[in-house]
């Protein structure tokens, strides 16, 4: 096991504890790597360099193998995401059913382009390849839940609603 520099370890104590909990839950076999990374991504919204190093140490595999896996899959990523992640399906059946108008409305409402996160950290906007909702297009995943037959106006309402939720919480 590689020992991290003491100051790095101290600065990431919470992260390391979370990884140790996940290893205890899923095991230290190579097959546990992806479930651990999925859970880490879910909990902490990013998979940092330190996280990849620690996971590699615990599983006894080279860190580059962990990085290789993280960068291979669409739902694993090193960059941090916002609180709410929107994946808009850009594949054929959705594209034929008005995906372009949904994309334009999302960019307009959020003020960002695809692949970006809003400065307040509330929203990340991403593309998805076919999400298997071709019978009810256009479709998107909001925090990995499928929303079907979305209209541009629904998108506006959705964004407004999620923003209000947050300001409501601050107000309370």
């Amino acid at each position: 096991m590689i020992t991290l520099p003491a100051e790095v370890e101290a600065a990431n104590a919470g992260l390391i504890e979370a990884i140790d909990d996940l290893v205890a839950e899923y095991g230290d076999d190579r097959s546990a790597l992806i479930p651990i990374l999925q859970a880490l991504r879910q909990q902490r919204r990013q998979i940092s360099d330190v996280a990849m190093q620690v996971v590699a140490d615990r599983l006894g595999i080279p860190p580059v193998d962990v990085q290789g896996v993280v960068t291979f899959y669409h739902f694993l990523d090193t960059t941090p995401t916002g609180t709410h992640v929107i994946h808009l399906c850009r594949t054929i059946s959705c594209a034929m059913a008005g995906m372009g108008a949904i994309a334009a409305r999302l960019e307009h409402e959020l003020g960002i382009s695809f692949g970006e996160t809003t400065p307040d950290g509330l929203f990340t906007l991403s593309w998805a390849n076919c999400i298997g909702m071709c019978d009810a297009p256009p479709a998107l995943l909001l925090n990995r839940q499928a929303l079907a037959r979305v209209t541009p106006d629904q998108v506006s309402e959705l964004v407004l609603g999620l923003r209000a939720e947050v300001s409501g919480m601050i107000g309370a």
Binding site: D29, R30, S31, A32, L33, I34, P35, L37, Q38, D65, G68, V69, F72, Y73, H74, F75, L76, R90, T91, I92, S93, A95, M96, A128, N129, C130, I131, G132, M133, C134, D135, A136, P137, L141, R144, Q145, A146
Partner: protein
């Protein structure tokens, strides 16, 4: 839908009343070929896995629920509506090949189905349909669900196994085939969601029932995912051998110009060929039929699907990694009116090379839709090329 009328656990009880070889024989007699698209005979696959040498007696049954083919959603509907039948089919498969461990590889995009699927497995354990003594037969079998993380290529069975083992989903060289050396080097059967559901139905209703539906070489009913320019997109069941025209008619597609049959990896069938049959011997498909209305620009369809492949290529082999990007650039240049006839011919040649030289089905199928559009709509395609460049 026939599958919704199959009595619960009838197939499992019928299977457990036979010996494992009898179950394999039943599936072989049904003539069923894999419902995921590749069309390998299911009974033969089970037989090969049952006969393969398993040094420590371990074999695996894997359900490929990584339904990523554009235009395909019938597995999502099956998993949502009839999960018991799918898990029953996996259990039957386990009994047939002598496996005690099933794994369902659920695509990351379907994570919202996970809780219900786990609850279904829990119910089956409580009912004694999974666990150390399945339905009082003494046969032990259980199923776990592994969640994917978003990668189309993981629908390819060896990439799926790599992913299960915690690696990048890069397809393996074959042979060895998974039935000989699959998950953790053990004999492994990988079947599509729909294949397992029909396996349970075949045991319940008999091989003859299934074999008498469809054509001689494509037996049984098939679920089709119909989408695109139709009034009633959805999952339809037809006997294999059904004409493309009938399928489009059922979903309410009028004056369709073309149908992309088989999804992004399929082929573009022009309206004049709608009399052709959906079957393994004619137009083969895992179930996707994307209907294209008369007003559509087919090159827009081609560009969308080529972008998909350029984005989803695992990058392992050059024909696929580079070829898809080059084809995408070519389609874009064509649509801008900046391509010459010679360059179009070069694209066709590149596509043919990708078919031959790519390592797995992804790269081999990636040029299909484009090549079929160029072949079937030559004058429309050439119309995008400036007169001076012809």
């Amino acid at each position: 839908m026939t599958l919704a009328t199959i009595e619960a656990e009838q197939g499992l009880r019928a299977a457990l009343a036979l010996d494992p070889a009898g179950v394999v024989a039943t599936i072989r007699e049904s003539g069923m070929k894999g419902r995921g698209g590749a069309g390998f005979p299911t009974g033969l696959k089970w037989q090969l896995a049952a006969e393969a040498v398993a040094p420590d007696g371990v074999r695996y049954v894997v359900c490929n629920a990584d339904e990523g083919e554009p235009g395909t959603f019938k597995d999502r509907v099956l998993l949502a509506e009839l999960p018991d039948l799918v898990f029953e089919g996996m259990t039957i498969g386990g009994y047939a090949i002598g496996s005690h461990e099933g794994i369902c590889y659920l695509r990351g995009e379907y994570v919202y189905l996970l809780a219900d699927l786990e609850a279904c497995l829990e119910r089956r354990r409580a009912a004694g349909l999974l666990g150390p003594d399945v339905a009082g037969s003494g046969f032990a079998f259980d199923i776990t669900i592994h969640l994917g993380s978003g990668a189309y290529v993981c629908g390819e069975e060896t990439a799926l196994i790599e992913s299960l083992e915690g690696r990048r989903g890069e397809p393996r060289n074959r042979p060895p085939f998974p039935v000989v050396s699959g998950f953790r080097g053990a004999p492994t059967v990988v079947n599509n969601v729909e294949t397992f559901a029909w396996a349970a139905a075949i045991l319940a209703r008999g091989a003859d029932w299934f074999a008498h539906i469809g054509t001689d070489r494509s037996t049984g009913p098939k679920l089709l995912s119909v989408s695109g320019d139709v009034q009633r997109p959805g999952v339809y069941e037809f006997p294999l051998g059904v004409s493309i025209a009938e399928v489009i008619e059922a979903a309410g597609g009028h004056d369709a110009k073309a149908a992309i049959v088989g999804g992004a990896a399929g082929t573009c069938v022009p309206a004049r060929d709608f009399g052709r049959a959906i079957s393994y011997e004619d137009v083969s498909t895992g179930g996707a039929v994307i209907v294209v209305g008369p007003w559509r620009d087919l090159l827009e369809v081609a560009e969308n699907l080529q972008w998909f492949f350029a984005n989803e290529s695992c990058g392992q082999c050059t024909p696929c990694r580079v070829g898809n990007v080059k084809l995408l650039e070519g389609i874009r240049a064509l649509r801008r009116g900046e391509l010459t006839v010679q360059q179009l011919e070069d694209m066709v040649s590149l596509g043919q090379t990708m078919r031959i030289a790519s390592k797995c089905g992804l790269g081999q199928a990636a040029p299909n839709v484009l090549l079929s559009i160029i072949e079937n709509y030559r004058s429309e395609v050439l119309g995008h090329i400036p007169v001076g460049a012809r």
